[in-house]
Structure formats: C-alpha cells, structure tokens
C-alpha cells in the first residue's frame, strides 16, 4: 500500500509539473493575441469598447461595480428561490443573512457554504445563482491578476488594460470550454447531470430512500477549474455523486491545480522572463510539497487516544487505516491528503473528507496555507498576493545588496511598500480580530461543535477560510447563525477586495515607472537563492503573525493527544 501511495502522489504531481508550463503558455497566448470574433461579438452585444484601456482606478471601479451587479443578481435569486421555477420540492428561500453570505461567498470565489446544498437549494438556484457566480468570481480574479501583471510588463504608462477584455478572454478561450469538457468526464464517472430533482428508491430492506440529483457534473468541473469549491451537496467532494471514483478525485484536484499552478508560468511568459515563472513555481510547489508531507504523515498517524481499544488503525492490504473519521473508503488517506492539500493551497475550498475530523497537524498545514493564501492561491488574487510577498521580501533582502530594491527592473519605493503593507495588514486584522471576538462572546462560542483547542480551531479556521476566500470549513461549526453568516459574509468581501485594490494601485504605480536594466549589482530574482529567500520569508512571516493561535489551537491539540488528553 505504501508503494501505491507513492505512485499516486508521484504520477499526480508529475502531471501538474508537466502540464502547468503548457497551460501557462496557453494563458499567455490568450492575453497576448488579438480578440477572437466571438469575443468581438460579445463586446458589441454588451456595448463594450474592449480596446479602450483603463487606469488602475478605472479598472478597480469596473471590478467593484460589475461584481456589485453579480452579487445583487445572485442574492436575489437565492432570496426569491420560493417564487422562482425549477423548485418542485418547494424549498423555502434562504434567510436574508444566509443569502447575503452565500452571494458574497460565491462572488468572491470563496464558496463558503452556510447552507446545505441538497437540502436548501433548488436546481434553479444551483444554476442561476451558484453556477453563474462561480464563473464570474473566477473570471474577475483572473482579470485582476492580468492587470497586476501589467505593472511589470509596461513602463511609462498609466493604462492597465481593459477589464472586460481581460474578463472575457479567459472565459471564452479557457474557462468555459474546459468546464464543459471536464463536466462530461465527471458524468462519465458517475456524477448526475439532469434537471430532475429527486429519485425515490425502494431499498432491498424495504425502506424508502430519496436520492437528490440535479445538474451536478456541470457544477463539479466548474467548482474545481475555477478554484471555487462550492459543492452541490452538503458533504461537497466527499459526496459520492460529486466525486464518485478515485479517478474523479484525482481529476478534481488536478483541475484545481491546472490553472493555478500555471499562473507562475503565465506570469513568466507575460513578463518575458520564463525563468522568473519557474522560480515562483518552485516556491509555491515547495510549500505545497511540505504541506502534503505533513498531512500524509499526520493522517496516517494512529490516534493514541484509542490505542488501547483494539481498533486496528494499521495500514494493511485489507484496509487503508489511519484517521478514517470523515474520510471516504474509496479515496483512503493519500487521495484525501492530496485533495485537501491542493484545495487549501489553491484556495478552492472543496473537500473530499471532513476537515473538522482531521488530525491537528494537518489542520496546522491548512491554516498556514490559508494565512499565506498565495501558494499558488485561487484564481488570480492568490498569485497577486505572492507578488506582494515577493515585493516585501525583495525590499528587505534587496537592501542587503546595497541598492534601492528593485523587482523585474521596477524600483520598490515607499509607495509600493505602503500599498503592499496595506494589503498585508488585512489578513491579520480580519483573522485575528474576528477570531478573538468570536471565541469570547456567546454568539460565537455557541456555534462550536467541538470542545477545547479543536473548537478554537473551528473558529480560527472559519475566519482564515473566509479571509483567504478559500471556502473550506471545519464544518462542525454552525455558521448559518446570523452572527456568523453576516460576519463571515462581510469578511469574505473585505478579504477579497481590500487586499486586491492596493495591489492594483501598486501595479498602477509600477506601470508608470521606467524598467531599469539589470547590472552585476542587481539582485537577481530568478535564482535558487531567491526561492529559498521567498520560501523562508513567507513561512517566517506567517509563523510570526499566527504563532499564538497556532500554539493554542493545533499545537496544543497535537501535544494533548500525544499526552493522552482528550477534551
């Protein structure tokens, strides 16, 4: 079995490493070529002048206004579900706060779910609200990233591209076709795809079973390719209809990774320095591998608290063993580790097993990934965060070579530092502040499902996930209460747009600057040394910011388990 685990990991990751550069190249083509006639037709239909470039401010306003429209449309569909068609089960509408939370969640590419899909949403809502928002959320992220890239590809201009053009290019040439093709693969493997709602079965033991079906496959490929993560069903990717086989499980985490791990290569192509892309890939992939190693180790570790119980946790040819609570038999530990590590790293948020039942060291990894939120991060915004971290690391280290720090020929000066720092402040402020509030007031504590450090982690995880626009949850926490629905809803909007706009402004400032040619005195950012530096900076920074809650959460729980203490 151990050998098989290695093979699964190796083949999956080899696929990522081989495909990511190719997809990166394709993405670069999308943004470096002429508009297709189909796109031109769309622009005519929407009365958009796609050749008219925008300043960073215009771009930012376009992002905010268009997303405002998307958000309102999604909210209305969810809120008015009862009077809308395709609702044979007569499901009641979501409460206003949960509808707000959900619309915020899906428009920000978070896909946090404060509702149970199969029990609360009609097929109309699943399509017109959920599927729609998943598409636009991911597209917005991609467009923002391309605009930020232009801070490096351009010089002496205030123009950052056209938002609509950036939005639709990815949608038409990559996102929609890929979703369609992969949706068919998901159908082939067993995901339902029908406009029916329920199937009633009469079981062999004579009882009745109500199966919930619907347009599952079309949502499934989209949720992974768009690093959205919101599932059709409550159990998300653990549900056999969403994720019927080990093959779909593998395909799903590869779908999450395919665009996101391609982003560094895309970046390298766009700036005309492929090596820089490889270096960024090396950083995020190292973080990814480190996380995977810890999760795989942690989940296979027998739980000492049941050691005396004659319950076999061993890995044998007859069972996969390890921590099977919340995991599906068909996937086993390794598939679940691969999936969960990818979903967090790529800020998808889909899960194929219960995060709340993971061992504490795994949760530690998830939390650190979410605190960083940029390795590789979700559609676009995460990678922009990586650029922000790189700029701060370069600013510090660059000083140590005795020059005003520069990145890709652009000088990093007080304006860039100010904007990067502004963007950097959001995560600690939201995550630490909201967690601190929620673990002391009754409205926050009453939702916890687990006692002790694990309950603390549920809350910390929720706000880390909301801020990082991840969307996965330690689902024991009851987040459909007005307190959490509103708080996390606001947090997701803040977590998405507050760091993004300063980065856009920073790109605007960089685009105006001259590109400085390299000399022997320039600190090279396409070297192994830089990989080590950025890796170290990111880990150190996340550790310094979140050390106290990590001690009182996962480390305390881990050490308690080792000491045989339960809560």
């Amino acid at each position: 079995m151990i050998a098989n685990d290695w093979i699964q990991i190796f083949i999956s990751l080899a696929f990522v490493v081989l495909m990511a550069p190719l997809v990166g190249r394709y993405l670069a083509w999308i943004y470096q070529s002429q508009s297709l006639s189909l796109e031109k037709g769309l622009y005519r239909l929407l009365k958009i002048d796609a050749d008219k470039e925008m300043t960073w401010k215009e771009y930012g306003v376009a992002i905010v206004v268009s997303n405002g429209f998307f958000f309102v449309a999604g909210f209305l569909v969810l809120w008015a579900q009862a009077i809308l068609p395709l609702n044979p089960r007569h499901l009641s509408p979501l409460s206003a706060e949960v509808a707000f939370n959900t619309a915020a969640s899906f428009v920000t590419n978070t896909n946090w779910q404060a509702y149970a899909g199969e029990a609360q949403l009609s097929n109309f809502s699943q399509m017109l609200a959920i599927t729609f928002l998943m598409f636009v959320g991911a597209n917005t992220g991609m467009a923002s990233l391309v605009a930020i890239f232009r801070g490096f590809t351009r010089s002496g201009t205030t123009m950052m591209g056209n938002y609509w053009s950036d939005f639709f290019r990815f949608f038409v040439r990559a996102f929609l076709p890929a979703c369609f093709l992969m949706a068919l693969v998901h159908v082939w493997q067993g995901s339902p795809q029908t406009f029916k709602t329920t199937v009633t079965a009469k079981t062999m033991e004579g009882s009745q079973q109500t199966l919930i079906v619907g347009p599952v496959a079309s949502l499934e490929s989209l949720k992974q390719l768009g690093t959205n993560g919101g599932g059709f069903y409550n159990a998300n990717g653990a549900h056999p209809y969403e994720n019927p086989t080990p093959l779909t499980n593998t395909l799903e985490f590869l779908e999450m990774g395919i665009f996101t791990f391609a982003l560094p290569f895309f970046f390298g192509r766009m700036i005309g320095r492929p090596r820089q892309g490889q270096v960024f890939f090396a950083v995020i992939f190292s973080l990814y591998l480190a996380g995977l190693g810890v999760i795989e180790y942690s989940e296979k570790m027998p739980n000492p608290l049941i050691a005396h119980q004659a319950i076999s946790q061993q890995i044998t040819p007859l069972q996969d063993g390890g921590n099977t609570e919340g995991k599906e038999t068909r996937f086993g530990i390794t598939q679940t580790s691969l999936f969960s590590n990818t979903t967090i790293a790529a800020t998808t948020g889909a899960v194929d097993g219960a995060m709340d039942s993971m061992n504490p060291l795994s949760v530690l990894v998830y939390l650190v990934h979410m605190f960083l939120n940029e390795e590789p991060g979700g559609k676009g915004v995460g990678f922009a965060g990586l650029i922000k971290e790189a700029i701060l690391a370069i600013f510090l280290a660059g000083l140590m070579v005795g020059r005003t720090p520069e990145f890709l020929g652009k000088k990093i000066e007080s304006k860039e530092v100010k904007l990067a720092v502004l963007s950097l402040l959001i995560t600690p402020l939201l995550v630490l502040g909201l967690t601190a509030l929620s673990v002391v007031i009754p409205a926050g504590k009453s939702s916890m499902d687990n006692p002790g450090p694990h309950g603390f982690m549920e809350v910390l995880y929720a706000f880390a996930s909301g801020n990082a626009n991840n969307g996965s949850a330690m689902a024991g926490l009851n987040v459909s209460t007005p307190y959490y629905a509103i708080l996390i809803g606001v947090e997701m909007l803040f977590g998405r747009f507050l760091p993004l706009l300063p980065l856009l402004a920073m790109a605007g400032s960089l685009a105006r600057k001259k590109t400085h040619p390299e000399t022997a005195g320039t600190f090279k950012t396409d070297t192994t040394l830089f990989v080590v530096l950025l890796f170290g900076f990111m880990v150190l920074f996340a550790a310094l910011t979140f050390f106290p809650p990590l001690i009182l959460g996962p480390l305390l729980e881990h050490l308690s388990i080792l000491h045989g203490i339960s809560f």
Binding site: M400, V401, V417, K445, F547, P548, I551
Partner: protein, 669 residues
C-alpha cells in the same frame, strides 16, 4: 590624509543627556515604533507602582520589566544622539578652522574691514598672500596659490584663478601667494558646511526616500504585532488562561522591530557622517543613498583618468626630414608656450639639439581658437604646430601617406599627435602622451563588480580614446565629446532607466551635473558647478565618487541587514515568552520551552533584556556600517542572509538563555 576624530568620552556623556531629553513624547513620536514602546513603558510602570502600593503581587517583576523597557528607549535614543553628536563634532572640527577673520569688503569707494561672518552672498572681498580666506566664494579676479590643508589635509598648495574651472575658494584656507578678488557664494549659515550640519541634526533631519519606505514597513509590522498581541487575551480567555498585561506588553515590545527602529536614525546619520569623513559634503541624505544605486559613472578623461598634463615623448619626423630638424622646430615653436605640453616639448627637444640659442626676431604666435595652432615667426620663416586637421588646413594640402601613418599609430597607442610644419611644409609629428593615473584599473574593476559601468568622456578622437579607455580599464568611452554631448549622453542613459553619476568642476559642467542623478562637484570648481552638484568633494578628487558609491551601498546594506536581524530575532523571543504565558495552564506545552528557561518570569525578563541590550550592542555596527565587498549581488546577499537572517534566528536563542542563566545565578528569580 583623513582626519581622525580622537575618541572623546565627553561625547558619550553628552549623548546620554541628549537621549534623556529625547524621551519627550513630542519628540519621540517621529519614531513610531519607539513611541509604542514608550506607551508600553508608561503602562507597565504605572501597573508596577500600583502593584507596589497595593501589595498585589507582580510589583518586583513589573518593576524589572519597566526598567528594561525604559532602557530600550534610552538605548535607541542614545544611538541616535551619539551618531548626531559624532557628525556634529566632525562638522565643527571643520568649522573651527574658520577662525573669525577680518575681511576686506570691496565697497564703491575702496574697501572696508568687516568681520568675515558678516559677509553676504555676492559681496566681494580681497585677499592677499598670508591671509585666510574668510568664507566660501569664487575668484573674480587674480590668481593665487592656496594652502587648503586645513580642509583637505593635502599639504601641497593648489592654484586657484579667475575665469577657469578652478575658481572656487573655501573659507578657512590660506592664500600663500597672489592677490584675488572673491565674490561671496552664500549667506552666513547657508554654506555647504552649514547644510551638512543640519543633515545630521535630529530636529531638522529629513528622512531619505528609502528610509521612509523602510519606516512604513516597520510601522506595518508594528501594527501587525499589535493585532497579534491584542488578540492573545481573547485566545487565552477561551483556553482558560489568565493573561498578565505586563507580559503582553513585554511580548509586544519584543516582537515589534525595536532594534532596527532604534538604530535607523543612527544608520542614516552615520552614512552622511562617513561621507563627511571622506571629505565629501553631501547636500542631502538622498544623495548618498542614490550613490549606491548608480549604474553608469561618467568620468572626464583629463584630470580624472589621466593627469591633466600630456607629455611629449617622441619626435617622429616625416620622410626625408632629420629628427634634429623636427626637434629644433618644435623647440622653437614651444619656447614661449607656457602650457605643460609646451614645456614638455621644450624639455624633450633640449635633450636632442646642440644649439640652444634661439635666432633673433622671434615673434611668438599664440594659440587662438580660430587657427587652433600656435607657433613662432622668425628670420627662418614660420613654424606652426597643432592638431592634425588644423595643420592640414594651414599647409593647404592633405598629408603624405607616411605622416598619416605616423598620426594614426600615435592615436592608436592612446597618444595625441601634434603636427609641426615649417613654412607650410609638414616636418613631422610630436607624440604627446597621456599619463594615466596609477591604481585606476583596480578601482574600475571594483566598480564593475558592483554593477557600475564606467564611461570615459573625452574630446579626443575615437582611436586615442579607445586606447586610453583600454589602458585605464574603463568599460566604454565617448569620444570627440563636446560639453553639450555629455548632457545628451546622461539623458539617453536615464531614458533607459539607468542612474548616472558624474563629477565635474567647470561652469559648462553645471547643466550636466544638475541632470545627473549623482553629481560630485569639485570644491576647486566654479560656484555654478558646486550649486548644480548634489555633493561637493573638498579634496577635489574626481575618483572620490567611487568611495561615495560604496558609502551609499553600505548605508542600504546596513539598514537591510539590521531589519532582517531584528525580525529574525522574533522567533526566539516567541519561544521564550509564549511557553511562559501558556505552560502553567497546559503543561503539555512545556516542550515549546526549547531554551529550558528557568521560570516564566525569568523567561520574559530575559527576552526583554536581550531586546534592550541588542541595541547598544549593535550601535558600533550601525555607525561603522556593515562591511561592503564588491563580490556581486548574489554572493553578497547569500552572505548577508546567512549572517543577519540565520544569525538573527540563532543569536537570540543563545543570548536569552545566557541572560536567563545569569538571572538565576544572581537570584533575580
């Protein structure tokens, strides 16, 4: 000679007194990180006093922490005060050379005696041999030999004269010979020296752009750690742990980047001070900082790369002309030529000719810009010497092939050919050779490793320029340059995003100096040049710019290294304080006390003591600067990351452990 400041212990006392006055919050708010520490100190002190008065426990521990928090601020203030005082001491040692003198102010009716300190800009005064020049100015009339050793330390006298590029005089220097009329450059209190002093003075000091950027980052980090610490009471309360406000404040102070924030002003001041010690007066902190960034260094050939004087080394006669005839003609034509070149021709010729009696009726023909030739008319006829094209115009015919070959050979070897013709017939060519200053090749190689491209600017023809550039080890050259070309060259490079440095002294350099990113003006130069540049070299040594580049780099490296060190230190401080906070409630967390610190109190105290002591420990480094070796950016970074990054993680583990052991030994816990 560099002036050395003798260790002066009085300066330390003065710094201590000044650092106490800097505790005033109205002054301290300029340093936001230390301002936060001060707020924390006030809080812990109040709590310690309250605990002492009410006998409620933590008084001893609280007092200990409070003392060390105040010391933390004190050490940071001390660093700044010390740097400032050293800079001022350096400046006033220069100023003291300007003993109060009496100036002879030129008035419409003659002149009047006034104190030198009352001279205003554009006043004119007279100075004669034996007198001290009362203030900075520019010679309007006359020539003088001046002893500038008081300023530059160079004992050889220098010639300063009106009209040329060496018309600037500095207050405090002594006229040895000659009489000059000087126009005053600055109003009292506005001389370069005065400006320099304001650069190091805390109150009026402007932060440089990079310092501002770094301060923003430090403030950002401080805010983040403020969030971190502010959240802990809630986390602790959930976990059933009682949190002590004193420990929380101690943790906050340990985490926020006090080390770099405390030393940052000192680093900046020390950078300017180091430039000062190299006898370079920077007009702003930014100028020194930008010097570290330059990509291209433009150097004039004459005077910078070569000694100003070319020397005649050979007479090469045309076919059929005896060498002696050429030598004789050259000798005659140069007898009245007072330029160094002329004198060297005379000297070389006299070693070859027998008869040293000039013929009668010699009429010297001086050099004019129109003919671009000089020479002599005598009974024998007329002799002319000049550049090849000038003489060719004079003879009215192209040179024969052999002469052309001679000319081209000389040019290729880096020499300057001077054609001598008699009665419109070319006799041959004098080989004038540029003498390249020694030691330049190594300095340029050093610059190359720093990533600075050196470009020589010269009026010479490309062949000569190439040969000299190669011999001197320059990367590139710009030949047949006219003064306005230099400006265009700077603009062109700046368009490409490069930062350009240059040195200059002449009035016609002024526009280029103003355009260049780093412009080092020679103190001997014209007032216009000094105004246009952003630094003035008192030694008037054009190669000094190399030192300035290194000082600029050192300044940035020191900031980056200490910031990295400061942040890396946080790891160990966390491992000291957090277990101390949590381990009582959760003994299973004991494993996190990796240093094995004795008690929670001793752990927190050790961390805060380390945090305070590291500031004075690093003051010498901040003042001296991190050593800079031009080894290329990557190896430099690797080295500094190892020392200040990895070292910054490891050192405090050792330091805190040692302090903890000392505390136990001294029974402080």
């Amino acid at each position: 000679m560099k002036k050395k400041v003798m260790p002066d212990y009085g300066i330390y006392m003065e710094a201590i007194i000044q650092s106490l006055s800097m505790l005033n919050p109205a002054k301290l708010y300029r340093n936001p990180v230390m301002f936060i520490v001060e707020i924390g100190s006030v809080l812990t002190t109040s709590m310690a006093i309250y605990a002492g008065v009410t006998h409620s426990g933590e008084a001893g521990f609280g007092t200990m922490i409070s003392i060390w928090l105040w010391l933390t601020i004190g050490f940071a203030n001390f660093a700044e005060a010390l740097a400032e005082l050293r800079g001022k001491a350096q400046a006033s040692s220069l100023r003291s050379t300007r003993a109060e003198t009496t100036a002879r102010l030129v008035t419409p009716v003659g002149f009047s005696h006034v104190p030198g300190s009352e001279l205003k800009k554009q006043d004119q005064f007279l100075v004669e041999a034996g007198e001290i020049i009362p203030t900075d100015g520019e010679i309007l009339e006359g020539v003088a030999s001046i002893d500038e050793s008081a300023i530059t330390g160079e004992s050889a006298p220098v010639i300063r004269e009106s009209g040329g590029d060496r018309s600037g005089v500095t207050g405090g220097t002594r006229v040895l010979a000659g009489k000059i009329r000087v126009s005053v450059s600055n109003n009292p209190g506005e001389t370069f020296l005065d400006r320099m002093i304001s650069l190091v003075e805390g109150a009026s000091r402007q932060k440089s752009p990079n310092e501002i950027a770094l301060t923003i980052l430090l403030v950002g980090l401080t805010l983040i750690f403020l969030f971190v610490v502010a959240a802990i009471p809630a986390f602790s309360s959930y976990s059933g742990i009682k949190s002590s406000p004193t420990i929380l404040i101690a943790l906050l102070v340990c985490l926020i980047p006090t080390t770099i924030a405390g030393l940052l002003p000192a680093i900046g001041i020390a950078g300017i001070d180091r430039a000062f010690r190299a006898n370079v007066i920077a007009k702003s902190g930014k100028a020194v900082e930008v010097a570290g960034d330059i990509d291209i260094l433009l150097l004039d050939k004459t005077g910078t790369i070569t000694f100003g004087n070319r020397q005649a080394v050979q007479f090469i006669p045309a076919k059929g002309v005896p060498e002696k005839e050429l030598a004789h003609a050259s000798w005659l034509s140069s007898l009245s030529d007072e330029t160094p070149e002329g004198k060297s021709i005379v000297a070389l010729a006299e070693s070859l000719i027998e008869s040293k009696t000039p013929p009668d009726r010699l009429v010297p023909i001086p050099f004019t810009p129109e003919t671009r030739m000089s020479g002599v008319d005598s009974a024998d006829g007329e002799i002319r010497k000049g550049a090849e094209d000038a003489v060719s115009t004079y003879t009215g015919a192209p040179f024969s092939a052999d002469i052309q070959e001679i000319i081209s050979n000389i040019a290729k070897s880096g020499g300057t050919p001077l054609v001598v013709a008699k009665n419109k017939k070319p006799l041959g060519v004098v080989h004038l050779k540029d003498i390249i200053k020694p030691g330049l090749k190594e300095r340029f190689a050093r610059l190359r490793k720093m990533g600075v491209t050196t470009v020589m600017v010269t009026g010479d023809n490309p062949l000569t320029a190439k040969a000299i550039a190669e011999e001197a080890g320059l990367d590139d050259f710009f030949a047949q340059a006219k003064p306005e070309d230099k400006m265009a060259l700077i603009r062109k490079e700046q368009e490409k995003g490069r930062l350009v440095a240059m040195t200059g002294d002449g009035t016609n350099d002024a526009p280029s100096l103003a355009q260049a990113d780093v412009a080092l003006a020679m103190n001997s130069g014209t007032q216009a040049a000094k105004e246009a540049g952003n630094m003035v070299d008192l030694d008037s040594d054009p190669t000094k710019i190399i030192e300035v580049v290194e000082i600029g780099k050192q300044l940035l490296i020191t900031r980056g290294a200490l910031t990295t060190f400061s942040i890396a230190n946080d790891v160990a401080k966390y491992f000291a304080i957090l277990p101390a906070m949590f381990v009582v409630a959760y003994p299973q967390l004991k494993v996190l006390n990796v240093m094995g610190l004795a008690t929670p109190e001793s752990a927190v105290t050790s961390a805060i003591i380390f945090n305070a002591l590291i500031i004075p420990a690093l003051i010498p480094l901040a003042l001296k600067g991190v050593s800079y070796k031009p080894v290329g950016a990557s190896s430099l970074l690797r080295r500094n990351l190892l020392i200040y990054g990895l070292g910054g993680i490891i050192v405090p583990f050792i330091g805190i452990k040692l302090i903890d052991m000392a505390l136990v030994l001294l029974h402080f816990t």
